[in-house]
């Protein structure tokens, strides 16, 4: 090879992908980053809609990692293609609706496709995977499955656990020195933390909580509810974004309410007022509430009573609510629904 070897690193924004890219960079390989946006990615800004998360850093961790490594980052929207992975994972789901093994295969295959379509030449792919770290996708028996089914085969290098795996192309070709790779194994994070200290990385994203909403039990429940209500497994981007926001209440099978929990969420839901029927308490302070599904005129009173329940007039005799339904605006007075009349089964 006349030019220096070049690799593309899958950058999630977490510590492992940061370290994996750094380890290879240190061996003189030119590294660029690639980050895939599925629509389910957990980002500080999504949290930042809510006040309780105001103290979390408002940064995109993948961009932060790229800055630390001083590498370009290619951010790729895979929302549409990713739907088939979520809806019909060949290897099934994890504890919730997380198709982790299919997801990893898909992302590596997308990285492979991306480098094959690129004008630049890339020699191999790096991930931050560590054997035994994740119960579904990062096991000794699933690592080869990812390499094979993605089509990357021996062009896929996992620098943090490479010594526990068969030789890969970049090692055989001498582009990287296997002796300078690692043999991390299991859920213990101390080796990664020590390596981070060695490289001087201190402000990296903490692993707790994961990087995907699909691993979250509450989020998965809302997605399962959406599919059940629709009668089919499908979604649009707006659907899955709205599942991240507000209190979701389904008093009837054919519609649900999305009730903002605070000012930040109200502000975010404002952007959906043109698309959804909505309610706004006006006699008392209260949250913007969207109606999702197929509500009818007969449903408006109950929906308004529920919305009033979450207003500052919850104990008042009546609350005035502005209603926009079927493109027409009206105002109604309702009695807030008492807490005991809100069935726990309505809460998604």
């Amino acid at each position: 090879m006349k030019r220096p070897p070049k690799a593309i690193a899958l950058i999630s924004g977490g510590l492992d992908s940061l370290l994996a890219a750094k380890v290879i960079q240190e061996q003189g390989v030119e590294v660029e980053g690639i980050n895939f946006f599925t629509g389910f990615c957990v980002e500080g800004h999504t949290h930042a809609i809510r006040k309780k998360d105001k103290n979390k850093p408002k940064r995109n961790n993948a961009l932060w990692v790229a800055e630390q490594l001083d590498i370009p980052l290619h951010i790729v929207d895979i929302i549409e293609d990713y739907k088939s992975i979520v809806i019909n994972p060949q290897h099934g789901y994890g504890a919730n609706l997380n198709p982790c093994l299919d997801c990893k295969i898909f992302m590596v295959s997308k990285a492979l496709q991306w480098i094959e379509e690129s004008d630049d030449e890339y020699d191999f792919i790096i991930t931050g995977e560590v054997i035994g770290q994740r119960p579904m996708s990062q096991r000794k028996d699933t690592m080869p499955v990812i390499a094979q089914q993605s089509g990357a085969n021996d062009r896929l290098l996992r620098p943090l656990c490479a010594k526990n795996l068969p030789l890969t192309l970049p090692e055989r070709e001498g582009w990287v020195d296997r002796e300078k790779l690692y043999d991390f194994n299991g859920r213990n994070r101390k080796p990664q933390m020590a390596l981070a200290r060695q490289y001087g990385f201190i402000d990296y994203a903490q692993p707790a909580g994961g990087c995907c909403f699909l691993t979250d039990k509450n989020y998965s429940s809302k997605l399962a509810d959406l599919w059940q209500a629709q009668g089919e497994r499908s979604y649009e981007l707006d659907d899955i974004m709205l599942l991240k926001v507000g209190r979701h209440i389904r008093p009837r099978a054919h519609y649900k309410l999305i009730v903002a929990r605070e000012e930040g969420e109200s502000r975010y839901l404002q952007g959906y007022k043109q698309q959804f029927p909505h309610l706004q308490p006006v006699s008392h302070g209260g949250p913007l509430t969207l109606l999702d599904g197929a509500p009818t005129h007969d449903d408006i009173e109950l929906a308004a009573r529920i919305a009033a329940r979450y207003s500052q007039g919850r104990d008042a005799e009546s609350v005035t609510v502005d209603v926009v339904f079927d493109g027409e605006s009206s105002t109604i007075k309702v009695t807030p629904l008492p807490a005991h009349e809100i069935s726990p089964e309505w809460m998604i």
Partner: protein, 82 residues
């Protein structure tokens, strides 16, 4: 002649405003400017970060009535992300 482009990224959560900016910038030439308007305050951090690693220059950033506006000038292609 440098182009001046406006990009509406309102009601998009991170990282979609960055992706839309990245994809629009791909179609521009060095020296062109683009003004991005969003409602996610995160763009004031993310778009400058993306500019730093991609070689573009942030010209101005401010907030107005719950919207966040950031202007940038497209840099040379050497570190251009695709």
């Amino acid at each position: 002649m440098a182009e001046q482009i406006k990009l509406d990224a309102r009601n998009l959560l991170c990282p979609l405003p960055v992706i839309r900016t990245q994809n629009r910038v791909k179609t521009l030439k060095p020296g062109d400017t683009i003004e991005v308007t969003g409602t996610d305050p995160g763009i004031l951090n993310d778009i400058p970060a993306w500019c730093r690693i991609s070689g573009h220059e942030v010209l101005e950033q401010y907030s107005l009535d719950n919207e966040y506006i950031i202007s940038l000038r497209v840099g040379e292609r050497s570190r251009h992300t695709t």
